[in-house]
């Protein structure tokens, strides 16, 4: 099966929308909002857009671009502020009669936006369209909806409207590739998505293909396992994401991740070398790359000595491949260099601390280090991750330390981060122990807190880890032999933690009758098993793991390992990829409420 089908279906809908707006031979200008550029590029690519008559393409700015044609398209997310921006441009622009504007809203034209344009009285030359893409394949085993603000909207603000997009995407996945025979949900949002899917199935009664390749759907909320987000990822792709920020499958190696020519496309199907190293522990990557470099050099050298006939053959076939490999090799090496430089100072300390946090030892020193690092003005995201990790593993901070740390953080990083701390608390990431008594707790009405986190029947995460066996068995074995070799899934976090999703999927898939007693005990109502119709026929089917709220690349790597171990393909579908720094920065950003 080809996951490219998904891309094609999104592509088809996009192109036919463009054709509907104006025939292909009519030239049109296109303005794209920044957030949509990458996904649209992945869905269709500039060449196909040009074939549909797109002439000039601009990035949405505060002022209207220099138009060239009479049909003008805007591509914007369904965000009110952006719509206002567009309206400003329309207003300022003296509207000629021959010009028509088309605003394509992703994923859906909201009534608010529609009535806004209506109130401006521009709807006679402005047409609103809705467009949403399906899961976009970023890699052979990774699908993403590229909805980066879903986490914040759904988990922080309980604003669940984006979940419909997820449900819709899953529906079209089913329509294209067959119905899942076994659905498993962990988390409130997952259940909500599943309910939406069921409601729609009732409503539209779509025809599913008879043959299904994917038998299992396992849906998981991001807030079930925050630890995977807080720990430092140690796979190559994870490291890249944490340090250079992978944007829709691309990494920019120019200074500070600015988009420039030094572009690295992270796709294992097109880049062989990347496929080999993406899941590797970072310490093994450099070795591998240097070995690879030598091999390539050898290949070239050997060939140089051959006869003319073979030489010709070599030039026409292998040379190109070798050259492209060399090129990508060079990029990977420079990526490694940048990463190494960035992490040089602190990585070891960090890893040590994380190990302590996971094992629950040396907690005093841990807190002292936190205080010190605040004084040393470490990167805020890094410190917050450590704080949250502690809070989660120890089920909150002791009252005194909690207050102290709060004061320190605010004094060091600015008072405005009071809101940041408040958000973290709401997510259940940064709490005082025995949360009923504390001061910051009722920042929101109780039901918010209850709905947002798992406070109501709270089971400490450490208990969960122990019950599910996610922590290394032998605590003394610091240098877990499997950690770096990549035989044990915990290698993605340097051997300190096995991603919960690995364990869950293994449990669900490996056994005929999944015994999920442990999970029921840990998560209670958050776990739901949907229609499990044919467990026996599903023995060899593929598995789709869907993350609501984002997935870390380390988790993807661990599932990749599981897939190799089981000999069953596991595909990860997610609302977006997410990494610790990214996550913290978005929480701490000043625009959280807009």
């Amino acid at each position: 099966m080809d996951l490219g089908n998904l891309r094609q279906s999104s592509q088809f809908r996009l192109l036919s929308l463009l054709t509907k707006i104006a025939p292909n031979d009519v030239l049109k200008d296109l303005v794209i909002h920044e957030d949509l550029m990458k996904p649209i590029d992945l869905v269709s690519g500039a060449r196909l857009l040009r074939e549909q008559g797109v002439d000039k393409m601009f990035k949405l700015a505060s002022v209207a671009p220099p138009w060239k044609n009479y049909i003008r398209l805007y591509f914007i997310p369904s965000v009110y502020a952006v719509a206002e921006n567009v309206a400003q441009q329309l207003k300022r622009h003296e509207v000629e009669k021959t010009v028509s504007y088309h605003i394509i809203v992703v994923p859906k034209v909201l009534t608010v936006i529609h009535s806004f344009f209506e109130s401006l009285g521009v709807l006679d030359f402005v047409t609103l369209h809705s467009y949403s893409w399906d899961f976009i394949p970023l890699d052979s085993n990774l699908l993403s909806l590229e909805l980066h603000h879903l986490f914040k909207a759904s988990f922080l603000k309980e604003e669940n409207s984006l979940l419909t997009s997820v449900a819709k995407a899953l529906m079209s996945f089913e329509c294209l590739l067959g119905k899942f025979s076994c659905v498993m949900m962990l988390g409130e949002k997952s259940q909500r998505v599943h309910n939406l899917m069921n409601a729609w199935k009732k409503e539209i009664q779509p025809n599913f293909p008879v043959e299904t390749e994917f038998t299992h759907l396992i849906m998981l909320d991001r807030n079930i396992d925050f630890v995977s987000l807080l720990l430092t990822q140690l796979t190559y792709e994870g490291v890249l994401d944490e340090n250079l920020k992978v944007k829709s499958g691309f990494v920019y190696l120019d200074a500070d991740g600015v988009e420039g020519p030094q572009r690295l496309m992270l796709n294992a199907t097109s880049d062989e070398i990347y496929g080999e190293i993406k899941g590797k522990h970072i310490s093994a990557v450099f070795q591998h790359l240097s070995k690879k470099a030598k091999e390539l050099q050898q290949k070239r050298d050997i060939k140089n000595t051959d006869s003319i006939e073979e030489m010709k053959n070599f030039v026409s076939h292998d040379l190109k491949k070798i050259q492209s490999q060399q090129k990508s090799l060079a990029l990977h090496i420079s990526a490694c260099e940048i990463v190494m430089k960035r992490q040089a100072g602190i990585l070891e300390e960090l890893l040590e601390l994380q190990e302590d946090a996971m094992s629950g030892t040396k907690m005093k020193e841990y807190l002292a280090f936190l205080e010190d690092s605040v004084a040393r003005q470490f990167d805020l995201a890094t410190i917050l991750r450590l704080c949250c990790l502690y809070s989660i593993m120890e089920d909150g901070l002791p009252e005194k330390e909690y207050q102290l740390l709060q004061r320190q953080l605010l004094q060091a990083y600015g008072y405005r981060h009071l809101a940041t701390l408040h958000y973290l608390q709401r997510l259940g990431l940064f709490n005082q122990r025995d949360s009923k008594m504390i001061s910051l707790e009722p920042l929101l009405p109780d039901r918010f807190a209850r709905a947002a986190s798992l406070r109501s029947e709270h089971i400490p995460f450490r208990k969960i880890c122990q019950r599910l066996n996610l922590l290394p068995v032998d605590e003394s074995s610091q240098a877990n032999p499997c950690a770096k070799s990549g035989q044990h899934p915990s290698y993605v976090f340097g051997g300190v933690y096995t991603p919960l999703v690995y364990h869950l999927v293994e449990k669900c898939v490996r056994e005929k009758e999944p015994s999920l007693g442990d999970y029921v005990r840990c998560f209670g109502n958050n776990l739901r098993i949907g229609d499990c119709s044919h467990p026996q026929s599903s023995a060899r089917g593929k598995v789709l793991v869907c993350f609501i709220g984002g997935v870390t690349l380390a988790e993807v790597a661990s599932l990749d390992l599981l897939s190799r171990q089981l000999g069953r393909q596991i595909v990860v579908a997610t609302t977006s990829t997410i990494s610790g720094p990214d996550f913290m920065e978005s929480i701490a950003s000043q625009h959280t409420d807009t």
């Binding site: 009534t111 004094q411 600015g414 405005r416 009722p442 039901r447």
Partner: protein
């Protein structure tokens, strides 16, 4: 001697009612008992019309050598062919019933105003006020509605004003037009549907005449007022009244008039006043006088009719002359002196090919090419034009007159040698297993395709299933010789259509549609008709048979059924019962639109039932608007949340915001976190309401405080910001969040100090963190202020040291750094000192602090400072081989050091050896 085709036809007609004309010119109409091969016929129940027009009844007749079978001998303009008589397939008993029914009510068409719905529709009759009749019932008229098979469907006891006209609309609604211009519509079952007015002028002036006409959008209506003005409505569903221009000339009643709705979608009225004809045009507000070329002398035009195709007009003059021409009166097709003595009752078109003049019991059939004949009926009749023919209703019968369609003519004409006819013959022989079949087939070999098409088409036009079968069998036989050359879809389509037509023609359903009428009506049209007749079962079976799409197939029928059920179950059953009955029938998985059923329930004031029914609706987008309409906001909100569609939630919110009081609004939405969140978002983006208000409502001081804090960062002026922060402190206090409150107070203090610095130093100092402020002070070497700040904000010592170390290094104040190190023992150790020195590449300064670094870290720090020799020395002193290896690994580029370390390692490994050497 073989039997020829015509004789066969005669045999076929046995048992049917036929009309024979003898060579003496007498016309015999009756049941054919037996026909002989030599064309002698025996008939019973005869009505005979002699040449002088006398009519007599005879029991039995035996006719020798029939000369002229009217069935067959009119090639162009047709006639009452036995096969076409509807009566034939209404069973005999039913016929009697019809007569009985009519007899019982003593209905006599002579005294009645009759109106017949087009396309095989029902018949409505009411007493004709203009005729004198003995009073049988009360003064108020009663309208009787009969099905086409004569079954009395309903009666309407008229209680309104004087009825000017009753007429059927194209959707089978009976329009009763009163003299005050009000029009009421009733369905077949006599249920009142709706009504509308024809405007003020019509009401005041009263109307004297009204006509309906088929328009492009439905049914149109024209009324004539007493002051001889025409008012027209083009579509009765959407009555927009237009006044037509006045008729010129003397203000007297027009002698006759009619409305014409052409292909250009314009309605015009043709009026005859004595002998003048005017064409009233609304769109151009213009009256044109038309002068048709009538050669016979006449004083006035007394009747006119427009053909179903709206292109031809027929006029009848007082002298009994019929003129047929184009509707613009420029072209004349024919003029015929009908020489009729009796006053004409009706002038109508039979299809678009002939004009029929109804003289009561005699019909004169005239066509533009002058093929005229007379048709004599048993009693007074009423005729009704259809697109392809004419329906004739007498006191006891209901017949259909049509021009025999071409394929049927070709096949059944006496002595026809058309391919179709021969193919039918071949098929007949084939049935008999006779070798002649082969001969016949060979005859038409070259035209087999035409023959098959003819047969198929003819079958479609036939009424009798047996004849249909004969033709279809012939077509099938022909097809088998053509292999795949014939499009089988035509054949299958006709079979399918005939199956349906035969079913609905049954007297119980009573929808005598011709093939052509069905084509015009369409599948949906037919379904509509069945639904109007409450024939839900048949409708569903037809849907299944035709495999109609979900949208207009079974679900629609079921919905209509449920609506009917609600309307009629009213009062008999309670809401609960009704709802469960409906849902039991409709099921939940089907695509039935419960919302439209609920809408019906709302119309019938059955709110409770509607709410129950809406529970079954699974399309939230349909369900929610209705729930809101019913005032079920909480339920609507719950459903909107379930659907997850933000647009729906928004919709409900807007409605609730309007209808609810603020308190109730907040109390309702507080139960739904996602609604709350959406509302909060709307508050922020489009100022739908105030966010503070929600929090106040909730006594949620914390959220208010956060809001204040966030707002404070948006404020430009310092005073505003301070004010907001002060509010935040108050709110935190209310929320009993003491830490947060004290933190906010700190911030206020800080802001104040910062603003002081800003004015003092003249550099931006506001809006940075405490740490940065301290750094700023240190950078300015303002020790006093720094001390003060530290005291004020209780900065811990460790942090202060860190700050000092980093800041001093940053500004390169190494002396100050040294001073710090000497001040007292560093609480943060001396490693940071080394680190900062190294950061700024100051090895010499770093060396100053290296000895003070804690022992277990010292080697690492020497290495960090790239002082490998020293590091190696220390390691050696500690006899730590591992550390030596570590140092070595770090300085691999420096040969000398590596060698040195190697020797040191060797020394450690073999202390004895080295001692020996010594």
């Amino acid at each position: 001697m073989s039997i020829g085709v015509p004789i066969k036809v005669l045999h076929e007609a046995e048992g049917h009612i036929i009309t024979c004309e003898t060579n003496t010119g007498e016309i015999y109409r009756g049941k054919l008992v037996e026909a002989e091969d030599n064309m002698n016929c025996q008939m019973t129940n005869i009505t005979v019309t002699y040449r002088d027009g006398r009519v007599a009844q005879l029991e039995n007749v035996y006719i020798r050598r029939v000369q002229k079978l009217q069935v067959l001998d009119l090639p162009q303009e047709e006639e009452n062919q036995p096969f076409l008589e509807h009566k034939l397939h209404v069973e005999e008993e039913e016929l009697e019933e019809e007569v009985q029914e009519a007899g019982h009510l003593e209905i006599n068409l002579q005294d009645l105003k009759v109106t017949v719905a087009p396309s095989g529709g029902p018949i409505a009759v009411v007493r004709d006020d203009t005729k004198l009749t003995p009073v049988q019932t009360s003064g108020k008229p009663i309208i009787f509605i009969f099905s086409p098979s004569g079954e009395l469907k309903s009666t309407i006891k008229w209680s309104g004003g004087k009825i000017v006209e009753i007429n059927w609309s194209s959707s089978e609604e009976l329009l009763c037009i009163q003299d005050d211009g009000s029009v009421s519509a009733y369905d077949i079952f006599g249920n009142y549907q709706n009504s509308f007015q024809m405007g003020q002028e019509a009401r005041e002036m009263k109307i004297i005449d009204a006509r309906t006409f088929p328009s492009s959008t439905g049914t149109g209506l024209v009324v004539l007022t007493t002051n001889f003005r025409f008012f027209v409505v083009n579509n009765i569903k959407d009555p927009r009244i237009r006044r037509f221009p006045d008729i010129p000339g003397v203000n007297i009643a027009p002698s006759c008039w009619t409305a014409i709705h052409g292909d250009d979608r314009q309605t015009r009225v043709i009026v005859a006043k004595e002998k003048d004809i005017y064409l009233l045009d609304y769109s151009e507000q213009h009256v044109a006088q038309k002068i048709p070329e009538i050669s016979h002398h006449h004083l006035s035009i007394i009747a006119m009719a427009v053909s179903p195709c709206s292109k031809l007009v027929a006029l009848l003059t007082d002298a009994g002359v019929i003129w047929i021409g184009a509707f613009d009166f420029r072209r004349k097709f024919c003029e015929h002196d009908a020489q009729c003595m009796l006053p004409a009752v009706q002038l109508v078109w039979c299809g678009s090919g002939a004009v029929v003049l109804n003289l009561g019991s005699v019909l004169l059939v005239l066509s533009p090419n002058r093929d005229n004949f007379t048709l004599i009926l048993d009693s007074t009749s009423h005729v009704c034009p259809e697109v392809d023919g004419l329906r004739i209703i007498t006191n006891s019968s209901h017949e259909f007159l049509q021009k025999v369609p071409l394929p049927n003519q070709e096949i059944f004409r006496i002595g026809s040698m058309s391919p179709g006819a021969i193919l039918v013959e071949a098929s007949r022989e084939f049935q008999k297993r006779s070798h002649r079949a082969e001969e016949y087939i060979r005859l038409v070999k070259n035209q087999l395709e035409l023959a098959v098409t003819q047969c198929i088409q003819a079958a479609g036009n036939e009424w009798q299933p047996t004849v249909q079968k004969v033709l279809l069998r012939a077509a099938q036989l022909g097809k088998s010789f053509l292999f795949d050359k014939v499009d089988s879809e035509l054949f299958v389509g006709i079979c399918q259509t005939l199956r349906i037509l035969n079913a609905v023609r049954n007297y119980k359903i009573a929808l005598p549609l011709t093939f052509q009428q069905y084509e015009q009506l369409g599948k949906t049209g037919l379904l509509n008709r069945l639904i109007l007749r409450r024939q839900y079962t048949v409708a569903i079976q037809i849907c299944q048979f035709l495999q109609m799409s979900e949208a207009d197939g079974i679900p629609r029928v079921l919905t209509e059924w449920a609506c009917y059920k609600i309307k009629h179950g009213l009062g008999k059953l309670d809401a609960e019962q009704l709802a469960s009955e409906i849902s039991a029938k409709l099921g939940t998985g089907s695509k039935v639109s419960y919302s439209s059923i609920a809408l019906k329930a709302i119309e019938c004031k059955q709110e409770k039932l509607a709410i129950r029914l809406l529970d079954f609706e699974h399309r939230a987008s349909e369900q929610i608007p209705l729930l809101l309409k019913l005032g079920q906001e909480p339920q609507a909100l719950a459903k909107a949340v379930e659907s997850g569609d933000p647009n729906l939630i928004y919709y409900v919110l807007v409605v609730m915001k309007e209808t609810y009081s603020a308190d109730k609004f907040y109390m309702t939405i507080r139960h739904y976190p996602s609604v709350n969140a959406l509302y909060a978002k709307l508050c922020r983006t489009i100022q739908m309401g105030s966010l503070e208000q929600i929090y106040e409502q909730e006594d949620n001081f914390n959220a208010q405080a956060i809001l204040s804090v966030k707002d404070s960062y948006r404020a430009q002026k310092l005073e505003n910001r301070s004010a907001m922060l002060t509010t935040a402190v108050k709110q935190y206090r209310q929320a009993k969040a003491e830490i947060a409150a004290s933190l906010t107070e700190d911030q206020l203090k800080l802001l104040k100090t910062q603003s002081g610095y800003e004015s003092k130093f003249g550099c931006p100092a506001i809006d940075v963190s405490l740490n940065d402020t301290l750094k700023l002070l240190m950078r300015r070497r303002d020790i006093k202020e720094t001390e003060e700040m530290v005291k004020k904000f209780k900065v811990p010592e460790r942090r202060l040291w860190w700050l000092k170390v980093t800041t001093f290094a940053e500004i390169g104040d190494w002396a100050e750094l040294e001073k710090l190190s000497r001040l007292k023992k560093s609480p943060i150790g001396y490693e940071p000192f080394v680190d900062v020195c190294l950061q700024y590449n100051n090895i010499t300064e770093a060396q100053r602090y290296l000895p003070k670094v804690e022992e277990h870290l010292s080697i690492k720090y020497y290495v960090k400072a790239k002082l490998y020799t020293e590091a190696a020395q220390i390691a050696f002193q500690r006899r730590d081989t591992e550390a030596l290896h570590y140092v070595q690994s770090r300085c691999s580029s420096n040969r000398d050091v590596v060698d040195m370390i190697n020797s040191l390692i060797a020394k450690l490994a073999n202390p004895s050896e080295s001692q020996n050497k010594r």
